[in-house]
Amino acid sequence: MFGAFCIIGGCGYIGFKIAHIYSKRVELFRFLQNGFSLLETEINYSSTPLPLALERVGMKINKDCGSLFAKAATMLHRKNGITASEAWNEGIITLSNKVPLTKEEKELLNVFGHGLGCSDKEEQLKNIALTKKQLYMVEKSVEEEQKKNQKMWQYLGICTGAVIVLILL
């Protein structure tokens, strides 16, 4: 009996874990948009140099999402001749270790990195605005996915557990 509970519980847990990733991803894209808004403010109003601007953004927003900005900032602070786009890519790698990202989503962030820092204010703001728009679209589609799949994974976990128990009985 105890074993049966363990199996149902375990499978249920895995199901919930997978379902949780969906809500985490929705959250991520929401926070990323916030992050880009903050970066926009830093660049537009106070012309903060990039290392400091990224560091500030990284501190202000939630941890998972902030790791993208924080990592890029630490890379730039080392001053070893790294370009902003290289540092940004390091940030994307750190982020994708925390929250799974699809290839397209990585590409989107990557493209933003190419223009980072190496043009005047106007271009920077354009680049940020464009990326924010794209992130909004991604957020919507990820939300759809969440609606479709989250419940399914939660039930699927428990059901799979129950099926295994039934077979074993």
């Binding site: 730039l76 001749g81 005047d120």
Partner: protein, 355 residues
């Protein structure tokens, strides 16, 4: 290697403070010998070089490090280090050579990385500086750029495709004005002074020390300091970086940084009521006008001008007026005859005769 330096944080801080402060011209030579690798890493202009070039300097040029005045990077041309009147370069096999043609060629990537490093990867934060063609880095050194200018309605918007970079390493020589101060300060009176000097003869260094001494006061001759207003159009005299002057320029000095000279002089007279106004490299019509205004406000003007000798300046359109008006009390001519900052002649501006 870097880890060793991190452990000695305190030493680094100390040497940053001493970095470009030399006590007397003759002591420059001594300090060159004592530059250790640790100190090289803490030099702020060194930190602004790209890692590749840092390596070249560490490997081949350590013995010259205290003497550098300029480092020039030009696209597809050899890197050039200039000390005083000598120019040198490094071959790709890391050999020091005075034959510039054999030097290590700078490629576009090197230049791009250097620009990213200098701008902290944030060109947008230095738009105005790029418009003017130079930025000031920590330590008060200046880095100039050339490239393709992007125009917007006839005005320069920014410089792109940067093809040449010049590091101008500023140096503070405390006490280099000692010999000249007696000609400028007499009891409580300070004379209107014009310093004439060809480029690279220590004109800015001298002006910096004059400002410092007048502002701090000179106990040797019992001179109490007075308020000095400094219009630093090219951020060269005080080397202001993010609001902090990087050189010692005296405790009664107010600095208007990156401000056009003529406007700056008027602003200072109105806002800070200085006794002395110091500024670099006059010559434009507006400059002359605002010097007249300063005179009317009872403010002493100490300034410099590019030129080989007194005769040459006497022929210049705008300066001619000032000299014929007998505006300046003292005209000081510098040269490089016996090393940087040789005092050539001092002329009494009223009688136009040597002192």
């Amino acid at each position: 290697m870097a880890k060793v330096f991190i452990n000695k944080d305190a030493d680094i801080k100390e040497s940053i403070n001493k970095e470009n402060v030399t006590t007397h011209p003759t002591e420059i030579k001594k300090s060159i010998i004592s530059v250790s690798p640790l100190k090289i890493y803490s030099l702020s202009w060194f930190q602004a070089l790209s890692p590749n070039i840092q390596e070249l300097v560490i490997d081949c040029l350590q013995s010259f490090i205290g003497e550098f005045e300029e480092i020039r990077l030009r696209i597809n041309q050899p890197i050039i280090f200039r000390t005083g009147l000598k120019e040198m370069t490094v071959t790709s096999q890391k050999q020091l050579t005075f034959n510039l043609e054999k030097g290590y060629l700078i490629n576009k990537e090197e230049i791009d990385r250097t620009v990213q490093l200098l701008s902290q990867n944030s060109l947008y934060a230095w738009e105005d500086e790029f418009k003017n063609g130079y930025i000031t880095i920590p330590g008060g050194h200046r880095v100039g750029f050339v490239g393709k200018c992007v125009l917007d309605k006839g005005n320069i918007k920014t410089i792109k495709d940067i093809s040449g970079i010049n590091y101008r390493i500023g140096r503070q020589v405390l006490g280099c004005a000692d010999k000249i101060i007696p000609y400028i300060v007499n009891n409580d009176q300070i004379y209107h002074t014009l310093i004439i000097s060809p480029p690279q003869c220590g004109k800015t260094t001298l002006l910096r020390d004059i400002v410092r001494q007048i502002s701090d006061g000179i106990s040797k001759i019992g001179f109490q300091g007075v308020n000095v207003g400094l219009v630093d159009e090219r951020s060269e005299i005080a080397g202001v970086y993010q609001g902090n002057p990087q050189f010692k320029i005296g405790l009664r000095t107010d600095i208007l940084d990156a401000c056009p000279k003529s406007q700056g002089m008027m602003m200072l007279i109105r806002s800070m009521s200085p006794r002395v106004i110091a500024t670099d490299e006059i010559g434009k019509k507006e400059d002359i006008d605002s010097i007249y205004n300063a005179l009317q406000a009872g403010v002493t003007v100490i300034t410099t001008v590019h030129g080989g000798n007194y005769e040459e300046i006497k022929g210049r359109p705008n300066l001619k007026e000032l000299i014929n008006w007998r505006f300046f009390d003292r005209i000081i001519v510098l040269s490089r005859r016996k090393g940087v900052g040789t005092l050539e002649t001092v002329i009494d501006g009223k009688t136009l005769e040597g002192i």
